[in-house]
């Protein structure tokens, strides 16, 4: 019988991590991630979490500690946000390259400058090329469940990569929600102890990430790319196991909402999907055939699932809570590149929305749907992303 509690999103994540029995936790506090690692520090101090909790002087060191601990054969965890994730970046590329399967919570927050502590996806999106697997969650419940899956996916012998669970700062980390918790025996049966083939051992010295010249470097990078892409089948299988355990539907790398017969499909990641679903319900009542496809697994990019889910729409409007400055939003670019050249695919439009905590409310969703319909009927696709609710009057 599941234990049901109303908890803060951060507490739900800390309890998920605790249930996964990490041996090493290292973290440096940064808003809005702090409550997660505070809770884990408290559990460790109280003796409820039997882990080495390493207090470090920076996020670079936090990532380095979990990287080394993972190489030593320990199940390891860290969390960060925003600037902290950027400071971890160098270590995360190296960790993926060395195939070290720790789990990291990427609490989404804007990137400076200007300084801002509210939610957008710029921080974790900037790590999309690192070789770290990324999931984006919509609720505290999904954050809890995905952390259980994250360790199992990371440690899968055919994958062996860091996994980042991305959750929106404040909106998910600091809200209280009803969360169902699995009992420890169930988690233990789902997630066996971490037993890597290679681990640091003084009696059998090995080198991780050894020197590779141009004659083999491409093959090493391709091996990571292949492990991540071929890992999709393992991710689907582990999500399906999680569905069986929890009774909650984690059947896919994407989640479709009223999208089967939709002419206009919105694509989004993270907590804004909740608002979009409400807006869709209203628009449906007005007779508009609108749906949502939410990307749960962003790296590896689930293009097979997206082609299936988007293929019948007339127009796809992507809400990107990030921007590749000088280009477009990352998700829009990904979808356009994967649909390109396939016959009968819908027009794809990219919208930059919700940067720095700018609210993506139902009126913003309506604007995007209206705009997408207008562009569709005009037959003139826009060549660059539109910034929703931008106030051009104050732009110098």
């Amino acid at each position: 019988m599941a234990d049901i509690k109303v908890v803060e999103g951060s507490e739900a994540v800390a309890l998920a991590v605790k249930a996964c029995r990490p041996q090493v936790v290292a973290a440096y506090p940064i808003s809005p991630q702090t409550h997660i690692v505070e809770a884990l520090a408290r559990m460790a101090a109280d003796g409820d979490l039997k882990a080495e909790y390493v207090r470090v002087e920076s996020e670079f060191s936090a990532a380095s500690v979990v990287s080394g601990a993972s190489a030593a054969g320990s199940r390891s965890y860290t969390a960060s946000a925003s600037q902290g994730l950027l400071l971890m970046t160098e270590v995360l590329y190296a960790s993926a390259g060395m195939r070290l399967p720790f789990v990291i919570t990427g609490v989404n927050r804007s990137i400076s400058a200007p300084i801002n502590i509210q939610v957008d996806h710029q921080d974790t999106i900037s790590l999309r090329d690192s070789g770290v697997i990324q999931f984006y969650v919509e609720s505290a419940q999904e954050a809890y469940d995905m952390h259980l899956a994250a360790f199992k996916i990371a440690e899968n012998p055919s994958i062996m990569l860091p996994v980042m669970v991305c959750m929106d700062g404040w909106v998910l980390t600091h809200s209280y929600e009803r969360v169902e918790f699995l009992d420890q025996e169930t988690v233990d049966s789902f997630l066996p102890p971490f037993k890597p083939e290679n681990f640091l051992d003084v009696t059998n010295p090995k080198t991780w990430g050894s020197y590779a010249e141009g004659d083999v470097l491409m093959e090493f990078k391709y091996a990571i790319h292949k492990a991540m892409n071929e890992g999709k089948s393992s991710i689907r299988r582990i999500f399906a196991e999680l569905t069986t355990l929890t009774g909650r539907d984690y059947g896919g790398l994407v989640e479709a909402y009223r999208a089967d017969d939709a002419d206009v499909i919105l694509v989004a990641m993270g907590s804004m999907a909740g608002t979009i679903k409400d807006a869709i319900d209203d628009l449906r009542q007005e007779g508009k055939r609108v749906g949502l496809v939410r990307i749960r697994c962003y790296r590896p990019f689930p293009h097979e699932d997206l082609i299936g889910a988007l293929g019948r729409a007339k127009v796809v409007a992507v809400l990107d809570a990030n921007v590749s400055i000088g280009s477009e939003g990352a998700v829009g670019l990904d979808i356009k590149s994967k649909l390109n050249g396939r016959p009968g695919m819908p027009m794809v439009l990219d919208f930059i929305a919700g940067l720095g905590g700018r609210e993506v409310n139902s009126s913003a969703v309506r604007k995007i749907v209206d705009r997408a319909e207008k562009i569709l009927f005009s037959g003139l696709p826009i060549s660059e992303a539109e910034w929703i609710d931008l106030n051009p009057a104050i732009v110098p």
């Binding site: 390259g97 060395m98 195939r99 070290l100 062996m160 290679n198 010295p205 090995k206 080198t207 991780w208 990430g209 050894s210 020197y211 590779a212 083999v216 093959e219 090493f220 091996a223 492990a227």
Partner: protein
């Protein structure tokens, strides 16, 4: 031979890479001036100074020619010479 995931290999394989070929300047020890203090060996970042009896000698297989030994030598016994082919 297949590459290994994570580039994990047995330890010590750096000995197979003769990084001395990167060098464009070579340190030379004047054994007459050398006081055998061993500072050159302590400061070498590539562990490329060997002790042989009471002499210190450069291991040119691994010396990259950074010049730290010459800079730190208190007896000024080490000079840097251009490598020529």
């Amino acid at each position: 031979m297949k590459i290994t995931p994570g580039a994990v290999v047995k330890g010590g394989t750096s000995l197979n890479y003769k990084t001395g070929s990167w060098r464009d300047q070579r340190p030379e020890i004047d054994q007459e001036t050398c006081k055998q203090c061993g500072i050159c060996q302590e400061v070498c970042p590539d562990d490329a100074v060997r002790q042989s009896g009471d002499r210190y000698e450069i291991d040119y297989d691994f010396c990259k020619g950074c010049g730290i030994c010459a800079h730190e030598c208190t007896a000024e016994a080490i000079s840097m010479k251009n490598e020529e082919k």
